[in-house]
């Protein structure tokens, strides 16, 4: 089995008047684990089903391994898939579920049993092979569905929100297992999810979709640290990036409600901008920092999430120290200007600063 690159070009689909895929051009590199991420209704499942051949796009082409499969029925595309509700055949045992595709592929009984055994061992299903899906727990069904997909050793593995029906603990275990499986198998993997944690932990490459368009594609770290738009900034990270409204004045950025810092960006003077700052990049006890009032604090043991207000704007700060903060207390927030992302307030797109003075901190009032 070798991995195959997948390329979709100009893929469009509308259901009635709703556009779910708007002229998508995406390359999925061979052997890579790509996560297609986005809120519900962004077109990510439709994209996956179009690649699998379960959905016919209105326009555009799908290539798998260099071959145009746009008009190929799903059974001839060479994809394996794990469905959100697992779609295990209820009238077949676990081993028949896993072996069905192998039987159709014309493998003899001995080879089939060997492959089923392998998949079962890889996923710890050995004791369950004779059971029916109805006799399994959610997590076990999930494993069987994955076993069914990997036993075929296809070039392409597709996952449609496979972890969304599992509880949090199981989801975490399966994440690690899926990544391990991918590293062992090496097939081209496309994984659709709305959960940014899954995307961050699993992906080599993330494609973030919004309203049928690619909002940003890149490595998890690129999306985390250099979000292209405010949508990406708000979608990636738990808690997500803080977005504060501000104005660009001269060589400074003035945050509404207090505070400013020097930054030169390619924007008109007095233009409205948004600044984005990660909760963990904020220092909350800098004497020169800007005032913020604590509204609430969540103690998670390992760290605290503090909800504060600068004027009318909410700011989340994560803090791993031991000091507790109480409601009504005043914090002094500051952050390195390099940790800041600037966005156009209207288009939401990122504006690259052309000069930032390192080690400049937010303070009450900038020097003229």
């Amino acid at each position: 089995m070798s991995a195959a690159a997948i390329r979709v070009q100009g893929l469009s689909k509308r259901f009635g008047s709703r556009v779910v895929m708007n002229d998508l051009d995406i390359d999925f590199a061979a052997g890579q684990f790509t996560v297609v991420l986005g809120p519900s209704g962004c077109g990510k499942s439709t994209l996956l089903r179009s690649i699998a051949g379960l959905e016919e796009a209105d326009r555009g082409t799908v290539h798998i391994g260099g071959a145009d499969v746009t008009r190929t029925p799903p059974q001839h595309r060479g994809c394996a898939m794990v469905f959100q509700n697992y779609a295990l055949y209820p009238h077949m045992s676990v081993s028949d579920n896993i072996g069905y595709a192998l039987k159709l592929a014309g493998l003899d009984r001995k080879e089939r049993e060997r492959r089923i055994g392998e998949a079962a061992e890889l996923l710890g299903l050995g004791a369950l092979l004779d059971r029916r899906p109805a006799q399994l727990s959610g997590g076990q069904r999930q494993r069987v569905a994955i076993g069914r997909a990997i036993a075929r050793r296809q070039r392409v593995l597709l996952f449609d929100e496979p972890l969304s029906n599992l509880d949090a603990k199981l989801r975490q275990e399966m994440r690690i297992e899926l990544r391990r499986l991918h590293d062992e198998i090496g097939a081209t993997t496309i994984f659709v999810t709305h959960d940014q944690t899954e995307a961050m932990t699993l992906a080599d490459h993330i494609v973030l979709l919004n309203n049928g368009l690619v909002e940003q594609a890149g490595t998890p770290m690129a999306l985390y640290h250099q979000p292209r738009t405010t949508f990406v900034a708000g979608f990636i990270g738990t808690p997500p990036m803080n977005l504060l409204t501000a104005r660009h004045e001269g060589h400074d950025i003035v945050v509404d409600g207090g505070g400013c810092f020097p930054a030169a960006i390619k924007a008109n003077s007095s233009a409205a901008v948004m600044i984005g700052i990660r909760p963990e990049a904020i220092d909350l006890d800098d004497p020169r920092g800007m005032a913020a009032v604590v509204e609430a604090a969540e103690d998670l043991g390992s760290h605290r999430v503090i909800y504060a207000r600068i004027g009318q704007q909410r700011v989340l700060v994560t803090y791993s120290g031991t000091r507790t903060y109480v409601r009504g207390e005043t914090l002094r927030l500051s952050f390195s200007s390099q940790a800041i992302c600037c966005f156009d307030a209207i288009s939401g797109e990122r504006i690259e600063p052309y000069s930032t003075r390192p080690a400049s901190f937010l303070a009450e009032g900038c020097q003229p």
């Binding site: 379960l54 029925p73 059974q75 898939m81 469905f83 779609a87 209820p90 595709a101 159709l104």
Partner: protein, 295 residues
Amino acid sequence: MKSSARFHGHWIPLALGLPQLVLIALFFYWPTLKAFWWSLHLVCPFGNCSTFVGLGNYTRELTDSSFYAALRTTALFAAFGVSLSIAVALFLAAMVELHRRTGGLFRYLLIWPYAVAGSVLGVILKVAASPSIGPLGYLNTLWPGFWQPYLNGTQSMLMVVFAFAWTQIPFNFIVFVAALRAIPAEYLAAAAIDGADPVRRFIDIQLPMLKPQLFFVATINLIESFTNSFAIVDTMTQGGPGRATNILAYKIYTDGFIGLDLSGSSALSMMLMLLVFAACFVQFFVFERRARQEG
């Protein structure tokens, strides 16, 4: 499911159910009891006198070779009639389901025949199968003497089996289409991904999931072939030629109303009822239970 309305006391529900209960009692239970009573007596041809004979009527029928001939004909008719009804309805339902988008129109077209009255259908089929004027009569222009449903026992059986299937197919079709629609599309998608073409998907996924409906429809068709087949045989062949299509239901009628052997035909109808009960019993206690366990 919770019942949405609740009655206090027993009188209102009983009163509401009364018309139906009276009808059933008058036209089903009473005649059944009457037939049972007759089957234990030797009754005069016009029912005005009777002598108790115990199981005499039953032993008389059970030692009569014409009873076994009618039983054989019934079994043959039921076997071919039911399998044809199911096979054709299943094929049509699968075809409609394969094209869910365009299938809608054909679904309605194929359900329509269900609304045609039985006697109208009998006349239509009688004309259609007529050796001299119907479309099948054309066969006799090509090969003179080939299509003779009123002389050739096999052909007349073929004709009534076809007519019977025609009456059952729309009902079966409705049940199968509804059942196929209820199968989650994900299973078929998974099978397609697993490499199954539409035919394999039907055989490996849809058909096993249709099992409860298949058993249900088979039972209904079987009961119909025991009882409602009377009208078809009566309009088309009157049990002939010879006794080639003389099924049990028709024999009961001819023995009772033409042969005026009311006792014997009552005993026969009791035995036919036992067959129907047996079919129901198998459906409810064997197939249904198994289907529930598997689901």
